[in-house]
């Protein structure tokens, strides 16, 4: 073993006692066990709650309400899912959520990426704070004034109104992430491009943008997910045909009984898309955030 390898293990290199290898092995073993224990402790709450959700959704009411709780459904039943889908137009709500969050994210990217770039290069932290104010304002305070305006413009209960409202969520996220990201990009390439006679826009487009791809991915995903998960706006502003998924989930709360099975099934249906998205894209998210995406923010 090399000196540095031993040094990595934090072990002093002096001494040649025969007992040392055993102690080293034991210590390393103990540390490894401790490490894996820590991993288990950290990760298990995350997965266990989702597994419990799944279990609840696959059992009928009687089984769900027994105590001690039953973990493995026996027999498993899809009745809850069938009920959720047959009593609610899940396909429609899914489409609505997709349209609203998709458009809100797209628009946020169109205005947010240039804004993030401008703010980063100007080092205008005050403008950043201004945009953060959007993030800081409680969502409820937007609702009544916006509702009145939409009503006046005849946009009530439309998807357009929802998209506009969701911009409140997506634009600050995109601007914040992109500003942080652009700040960490070295300026030399841009300086070179500018000296060569390029305009700011073209510099942004051909030089900065390709380099910022990881940051863009992060911004897109975060903006989309937070918009998708939004409950309050969809619940108050949407109409029958334009409701989004989270608002629809709350409607599954039937009048006659707190039906645990269908509720869990609805919860799974709503969260599954974003969970799958997360699993497949998590590498990108981590890559984007760990390349100093938020370092300068």
């Amino acid at each position: 073993m090399t000196m540095s390898a031993l040094a990595r293990d934090g072990v002093r290199t002096a001494g040649t006692s025969a007992r040392r290898p055993l102690r080293i092995t034991l210590r390393r073993f103990a540390r490894r066990v401790a490490f894996w224990f820590a991993v288990a402790v950290i990760v298990s709450p995350a997965i266990l709650v989702f597994l419990w959700m799944l279990s609840l959704s696959l059992k009928n009411e009687l089984a769900n309400l027994t105590y001690p709780p039953v973990f493995i459904p026996d027999p498993p039943t899809f009745a809850n899912y069938i009920q959720v889908f047959s009593q609610n137009a899940m396909g429609l709500y899914f489409r609505n959520s997709l349209v609203v969050s998709g458009c809100a994210t797209l628009l946020a990217l169109i205005v947010g990426i240039p804004a993030g770039y401008g703010i980063a290069r100007l080092q205008a932290s005050r403008t950043l704070v201004l945009i953060l104010i959007a993030r800081m304002t409680p969502a409820l305070s937007f609702l009544i004034p916006l509702f009145t305006v939409f009503q006046f413009l005849g946009l009530n209960n439309t998807l357009t109104a929802l998209v506009i409202t969701h911009l409140v969520i997506t634009v600050p996220i995109v601007v914040y992430v992109m500003a942080g990201y652009f700040e960490t990009l070295p300026r030399e390439l841009e300086e070179a491009a500018l000296i060569d006679g390029g305009s700011i826009i073209s510099t942004l487009r051909y030089v900065a943008l390709p380099l910022a791809r990881p940051g863009i991915v992060v911004a897109t995903i975060l903006a989309f997910i937070f918009s998708w998960n939004n409950f309050v706006f969809g619940a108050v502003l949407a109409g029958r045909a334009t409701r989004t998924l989270p608002a629809a989930v709350y409607n599954v709360l039937t009048f006659e009984q707190l039906a645990w099975g269908p509720l869990a099934a609805a919860a799974i249906v709503v969260t599954l898309p974003v969970l799958l998205l997360t699993i497949f894209i998590q590498k990108e998210i981590v890559a984007g955030l760990t390349h100093g995406g938020v370092k300068g923010a």
């Binding site: 540095s4 990595r8 934090g10 002093r12 490490f35 820590a38 991993v39 990760v43 709450p45 995350a46 709650v49 419990w52 609840l56 309400l65 001690p68 709780p69 169109i110 205005v111 240039p114 804004a115 401008g118 703010i119 100007l122 403008t127 201004l130 945009i131 104010i133 959007a134 800081m136 304002t137 409680p138 409820l140 305070s141 004034p145 009145t148 409202t165 911009l167 634009v171 500018l194 700011i200 942004l204 998960n229 409950f231 989270p246 989930v249 709350y250 509720l263 869990a264 609805a266 969260t271 974003v274 969970l275 997360t278 998590q282 998210i285 981590v286 760990t290 390349h291 938020v294 370092k295």
Partner: protein
């Protein structure tokens, strides 16, 4: 040419060049600012205007000036709401910071299955809050819930969780911690990934222990990231709504009624728009004060890093 002339020849066009550049950068920010202005400024003006009135939907509006604000200052329920908000926020920021940083340190090391486990760990953050809150409500049930069952397995007595005025806020914090620790972890992980390796090598050669490395090198270097996470967490925790609304709706009684819950009650249950607008203004002032405080701390951390 003299040096000054050369300098002048170089600086004057350069200054103009820089000015033009700054203007272009500024132009780039305009579309976003228009969006922000349109969707946010109007409601804000409306809110400020309405806060000077006493208006309930269905009744006539009456101008009362600052009466709503003085009313809030002496309103015991509102003051309790502020206390609850701070209590909740404190817990909901500190614990995710601690656990998230620990998780980041763990996930910074290479180990088998890291990518997969990291993905699982990130899931709670992405799950729809409303949906998950409904599930947590079921888990918190004193008689039928699985959490009390788990407690009984380890020999602890069952708890009232969110049905007890004393424990409702800590119980809600558990949900928040579960939900948002991954976000803290990701931010801090970003910081860890950007760490230079030189200080570590030289420190190890000097015989420093893992603990000393952590305390004197790692932590100070990632402090800016921890502060960023703290800012984001604080703003989100102060505004927390979906989770609390679904699980306890501010109860039992008013034990978990935060400012945001109180606002919802005033605006959408009592239709007391005038008073609700005043609450929004006060609420916002509190958030801004907290954010400024934390940003100030962040600036200091940045310079000393």
């Amino acid at each position: 040419m003299t040096t000054s002339a050369v300098t002048t020849a170089l600086t004057v066009p350069r200054a103009a060049f820089l000015r033009r550049r700054r203007r272009s950068y500024r132009l780039l920010t305009v579309p976003a600012l228009i969006v922000v202005a349109g969707v946010i400024v109007f409601p804000w003006l409306f809110t400020l205007y309405m806060s000077a009135f006493d208006w309930k939907i269905g009744e006539a509006a009456r101008f009362v000036g600052l009466a709503n604000y003085t009313g809030l200052a002496t309103n015991q329920r509102f003051i309790e709401a502020i206390v609850h908000t701070f209590y909740f926020t404190l817990l909901a920021v500190v614990f995710p910071l601690l656990l998230g940083t620990a998780a980041a340190l763990i996930f910074h090391r290479e180990f088998r299955g890291r990518g997969f486990l990291r993905a699982i760990f990130t899931l709670p953050m992405m799950a729809t809050p409303v949906a998950v809150a409904l599930v947590w409500t079921m888990m918190f049930h004193p008689q039928q819930g699985v959490l009390n069952y788990l407690l009984s397995l380890v020999g602890l007595p069952p708890s009232l969780w969110v049905y007890s005025p004393t424990w409702v806020i800590p119980s809600l914090v558990i949900v928040e911690v579960w939900h948002w620790t991954p976000l803290v972890m990701l931010i801090v992980l970003g910081g860890l990934a950007a760490l230079p390796t030189e200080p570590y090598e030289s420190a190890r050669l000097d015989g420093a222990s893992e603990w000393q490395l952590l305390r004197y090198i790692t932590l100070p270097l990632i402090m800016p990231f921890i502060v960023v996470a703290a800012v984001i967490r604080t703003i989100d925790a102060v505004k927390a709504f979906d989770t609390i609304y679904v699980i306890s709706s501010g109860g039992p009684g008013t034990a978990s009624e935060t400012i945001n819950l109180y606002l919802y009650l005033q605006a959408f249950a009592f239709y007391n728009i005038g008073n609700a607008s005043a609450v929004v203004v006060v609420f916002f002032a509190i958030i801004v004060a907290l954010a400024l405080l934390l940003l100030h701390v962040r600036q200091r951390a940045r310079w000393s890093a």
